[in-house]
Symmetry: C2
Subunit: 186 residues, 2 copies
DNA sequence: TATTGTTATACTCTATAACTATA
DNA sequence: TATAGTTATAGAGTATAACAATA
């Protein structure tokens, strides 16, 4: 599995930052030959790595993530925040435990996210109807508005990221990827 | 970008560990309904997330990474270690700076990896022929043997991960993924 | 002045243990 | 006894600043 870095490139763009050009995939690579840099770059051979599906899948995912970060910056939403918001939007009253199972997040790591989204006034917790341990999560009106905008942006962003693909190719790609990560055909 | 966790699931399986079943993708999700757990799991709707290419690409990449970690455990190689070893194997005398550019690793983060691989007797540093600042990296005989085994394992592992795909489908998938992460057609 | 390799370090993400309230 | 939510914390990954040696 080729290491292209940027796996955790979903840093929150909140605090003041030094270098964050948005160019995540090529963060530090290819200096651009500023001054008298050696032009004799012998072109490193990475052809074998590029033959691996894992490498290509990761590069593609990271490309889309990088675009996601740029487009979602106005909403201050990381991928995981958008995912949580989406699950709550489409499943009103869902519990934290259910979100963890659906998105494969560990419960301790979800706590802070929910807390932050609540603090931003985007989600609300209501007592669970049958289980007093649990809490049902709902979007506030503000949360619904933000999510609607964010989901629209996500959809547009996906189309932007796949502009080199025809509609049929995108469908094929999605289907084949699902066949990989689901063990069985689908 | 759906958060499926496990982005940095490439933890080194060196020290003694508690829970590491290898089941990375479903680390904590779906408890399996051990005892009297509620069977009324209302099936969280994630259909929108599943329509996003970013989600599917990430899931597929994580699936292959998880398999990679299991199959490469005997060699004690993380994806990034294998990538570095591969680049050195295919580009004898390559410099650290070139590896960083090719694999998109930041120089400070490569230092430890090279140091570790050197300590394991897998790579050697030789003075660069024309630049006394740089060092050319080479595989030792032991490194060559290990890399040969690891690369064979990687190739087998890829076939294993894509056993649900025909040869043609795998070719199509790879081509389409490249079209995504390269801006232009390819 | 710029680049290579490096150290030190901060921030983020991921994972485990353990606690409480409830089932 | 098991589960939902939580706290605290350890560990791994990723990022920047700054330095000495060399170009």
């Amino acid at each position: 599995m080729p290491e292209t870095s940027t796996a955790n490139a979903m840093r929150r763009p909140r605090g003041p930052r030094k270098k964050d050009t948005g160019d995540v995939l090529l963060a530090d690579g290819a200096p651009g030959n500023a001054a008298g840099a050696p032009v004799d770059a012998p072109e490193v051979d990475t052809s074998y790595l590029e033959s691996l599906l894992g490498y290509n899948a990761r590069r593609a995912a990271l490309t889309i993530i990088a675009l996601f970060l740029r487009r979602m910056a106005p909403f201050d939403l990381r991928p995981v925040d958008f995912s949580v918001l989406t699950v709550v939007a489409h499943n009103p009253g869902v519990t934290s435990r259910q979100i963890c199972a659906a998105l494969d997040i560990l419960p301790p790591n979800l706590v802070g996210m929910v807390k932050a989204l609540h603090k931003r006034g985007l989600i609300e917790r209501q007592p669970h109807p049958t289980d007093r341990r649990a809490q049902g999560l709902h979007l506030t009106p503000a949360g619904q508005r933000l999510h609607a905008q964010a989901q629209k942006t996500a959809t547009q962003l996906e189309q932007e990221a796949t502009h080199t693909l025809t509609r049929g190719e995108l469908q094929t790609l999605t289907t084949l990827l699902r066949k990989v990560y689901r063990g069985t055909a689908a």
